[in-house]
C-alpha cells in the first residue's frame, strides 16, 4: 500500500517536476516568474484536442503540432510582451504574465467554451501489475508513458545545458547577462530559446496530464501551483532542485492523501513545504543570488 502510494506520488511528482523545470529555465535566463505558464500549456492541450478529437488527425501528429504550438507561444510571449518592457520596468514583466493568464483563460473560454473536453490516453492497454512482498502495485500504462517522457525530457535538457556550446552559452547568460554579452553571446537569442524550450515543456505537461484532468480553461491551475511550489522547494534556480522538489511533493501529497486526509492533502503538503523553507529558506538546492555587474 505504501509502495503503491509512493509510485503514484512519483508519477504525479514527475509532472510537477517538469512544470517546475519549465518555469525555472525561463526564470534563470530571463529573470521572469511566469504566472501564465500553466495557461500557456492549456492552450496547447486545446490545440491537441482540436487536432485529434475534432479534426481526426492521428495522435502523434496532433502531439507534435500542439507541442510546436507551445514553443511558438513561449517565443511570442517573451519576444512580444516581455522584451519590450524588459529595460524599462523589469518588475512589470511579472504583472504582464498575470494579465496574460486572464487573457488566455478568457480566450480559451471564447473559442472552446467551458465544457470539460476529454482526450484519451495514448496507451490504454492493461496496467502493469507488480507483486511486491505480499502486496501488489498497479501502474497504468499511461503513467509509464508519463514517466518515460518526463525522464527523456529531463535527460535531454541536462545534456543540452551541460554538453553543447549553446547550452553553456545559455548558462552563461543565466549567470551574468552583461558578461555573457561581452563574450559575443547574443543574449536576446538565448532568452528566446529559453522560452521556446519552456513553452514546449509546458505544452507537453498539459497534454500528458489532460487525460486525467480533462481539457478546460482552468485545467492547469493545480499543476501550475504545485509546479511553482516544486520550483520554490528546489531553490528556483536549480534544475536538480526542481526535479527533487517535484518528486518529493508528489510523494508527500499522495501519502498525506492516503493516510491523513484526502481533502487536506494540498494544504498539508504546502504546510510541510513551508516548514522546510523556514529551516532552509534558499530551498533544497538553491544558492544565494549572484550579483549583477
Amino acid at each position: 500500500m505504501v509502495f503503491q502510494q509512493i509510485i503514484a506520488g512519483i508519477i504525479t511528482g514527475s509532472l510537477y517536476a517538469i512544470v517546475a523545470l519549465g518555469l525555472v529555465i525561463a526564470y534563470k535566463v530571463t529573470g521572469v516568474m511566469n504566472f501564465a505558464y500553466g495557461y500557456m500549456g492549456m492552450i496547447s492541450a486545446y490545440i491537441f484536442f482540436t487536432c485529434f478529437s475534432m479534426m481526426g488527425m492521428n495522435y502523434i501528429l496532433s502531439f507534435f503540432i500542439a507541442v510546436t504550438f507551445g514553443s511558438f507561444v513561449g517565443y511570442a510571449v517573451e519576444r512580444g510582451l516581455l522584451r519590450p518592457v524588459r529595460n524599462i520596468s523589469p518588475a512589470s514583466m511579472v504583472i504582464i504574465t498575470l494579465g496574460l493568464l486572464l487573457v488566455l483563460e478568457g480566450t480559451a473560454l471564447q473559442i472552446w467554451g467551458n465544457n470539460y473536453q476529454q482526450i484519451p490516453n495514448l496507451l490504454n492497454g492493461l496496467p502493469f501489475i507488480l507483486r511486491f512482498g505480499g502486496g501488489i502495485i498497479v501502474i497504468p500504462q499511461q503513467n509509464i508513458l508519463i514517466l518515460g517522457v518526463v525522464t527523456a525530457v529531463i535527460i535531454a535538457l541536462i545534456l543540452y545545458l551541460n554538453l553543447t556550446f549553446q547550452g553553456k552559452a545559455m548558462r552563461a547568460v543565466a549567470q551574468n547577462e552583461e558578461i555573457a554579452k561581452l563574450m559575443g553571446i547574443n543574449s536576446s537569442l538565448m532568452m528566446s530559446i529559453s522560452w521556446i524550450i519552456s513553452g514546449s515543456i509546458g505544452a507537453l505537461a498539459a497534454i500528458l496530464v489532460a487525460p486525467q484532468t480533462f481539457v478546460y480553461p482552468d485545467m492547469m491551475l493545480s499543476l501550475q501551483i504545485m509546479g511553482f511550489t516544486a520550483a520554490v522547494l528546489g531553490g528556483f534556480e536549480s534544475i536538480p532542485g526542481s526535479i527533487i522538489g517535484g518528486i518529493s511533493i508528489g510523494i508527500i501529497e499522495n501519502l498525506v492523501g492516503t493516510y491523513i486526509s484526502t481533502n487536506l492533502k494540498t494544504t498539508f503538503s504546502l504546510a510541510i513545504i513551508v516548514a522546510i523553507l523556514i529551516v532552509k529558506p534558499e530551498g533544497l538546492l538553491g544558492s544565494t543570488k549572484a550579483r549583477r555587474v
Binding site: K181, L182, G184, V293
Partner: protein, 256 residues
C-alpha cells in the same frame, strides 16, 4: 592607431564620470590608463565595451565601438578583464575558457548534435587553444575545477585566459595586479608581456601599481575627475606636476 576615443562622456545621475574624454591608442603599444580612485578609468572601459551607455565616438579600426551592441564588441576584436572578477562561477576553468572562445566558432547547434566534420575540426582547434593558453598562464592543472574553488590570483589568470582565447586585437586589463604579492606580480608581468608578443596584441591597462606601469608602458594616460590631465611616456609622466598633484590629493595612492 588602433583605437581613437573622441569626446567620450558618461553621466550617472548627476555625476559626470567621464567628461569629454579623448585618447588614442597606438597599434601594438602597451598603453596604461592611470589616475586616483574614482577618476573614471573603469567607466571609460565600460563605455568602450558597451557595459554603460555614453556619448562620443570610439573608432576601433574604422568602426565605432559606441554604436555596436555589446555582443558584437568581441567580434570587432576587443576583449577585457574586470576589476572585480567576473567569471562564470558555476562553470569550470575549461568551461570559462570555452565561453571565451564562443565567438570564434563557426559550427551550429546541429553540427554539434550530429558531430559533423566541421564540428570536430573546430572543437579540436579550441581544445588546442585552451591547452596552449592554459599552459602559458600556468593554470592547466586547474582546467577541470570549478572556478569558485580557486584562489583569487588564479581566478584572475583564468579571466585573462578567457579574454586572450577570443583572439582579440586589443586586450583591456582592469587592474590585473591588484591583490597580488610581489612575486605573483612579477610572474604575471612576464606572462602578460609574453602573451602580448606571441599574439601581437595591443594592450590597454588600468593599473595602480606604479612600478609595473612604469616598467611596461609605452605610453601613459592620466585621468582625474573624468578628464584627461596628462599623457606621455613614463619619464614624462613621472615629472608631470599635475599628475603629482592629483595623486597627492588622493590618500588611497599610498596603497600602491
Amino acid at each position: 592607431m588602433i583605437l581613437s576615443i573622441k569626446a567620450l562622456s558618461v553621466k550617472f545621475k548627476g555625476l559626470i564620470a567621464s567628461n569629454n574624454f579623448s585618447m588614442d591608442v597606438e597599434k601594438g603599444s602597451f598603453h596604461s590608463l592611470i589616475g586616483p580612485n574614482g577618476a573614471g578609468k573603469t567607466t571609460v572601459v565600460n563605455a568602450l565595451t558597451r557595459v554603460v551607455s555614453s556619448t562620443g565616438t570610439a573608432l576601433f579600426e574604422d568602426v565605432d565601438l559606441l554604436k555596436m551592441p555589446a555582443h558584437k564588441i568581441i567580434n570587432a576584436g576587443v576583449a577585457r578583464t574586470f576589476q572585480n572578477l567576473e567569471l562564470f562561477k558555476n562553470l569550470t576553468v575549461m568551461g570559462n575558457l570555452f565561453i571565451g572562445a564562443y565567438h570564434t566558432i563557426n559550427y551550429n547547434f546541429f553540427d554539434e548534435i550530429f558531430s559533423t566534420k566541421s564540428y570536430k575540426f573546430e572543437q579540436s582547434k579550441i581544445v588546442q587553444n585552451v591547452t596552449e593558453i592554459s599552459e602559458m598562464l600556468d593554470i592547466k592543472r586547474y582546467l577541470n575545477m570549478p572556478v569558485s574553488s580557486l584562489p583569487y590570483g588564479t581566478q584572475k589568470l583564468v579571466e585573462i585566459g578567457r579574454a586572450v582565447i577570443s583572439k582579440p586585437k586589443l586586450l583591456i586589463l582592469d587592474e590585473p595586479f591588484a591583490g597580488l604579492n610581489d612575486q605573483e606580480s612579477e610572474k604575471l608581468k612576464e606572462e602578460i608581456l609574453r602573451i602580448k608578443n606571441l599574439y601581437d596584441l595591443t594592450i590597454l591597462m588600468i593599473e595602480h601599481d606604479m612600478r609595473i606601469v612604469m616598467s611596461v608602458s609605452d605610453k601613459i594616460t592620466v585621468m582625474n575627475f573624468g578628464e584627461k590631465i596628462a599623457e606621455g611616456n613614463p619619464s614624462e609622466i613621472i615629472r608631470d606636476r599635475k599628475v603629482a598633484e592629483a595623486y597627492l590629493g588622493d590618500r588611497s595612492y599610498s596603497r600602491s
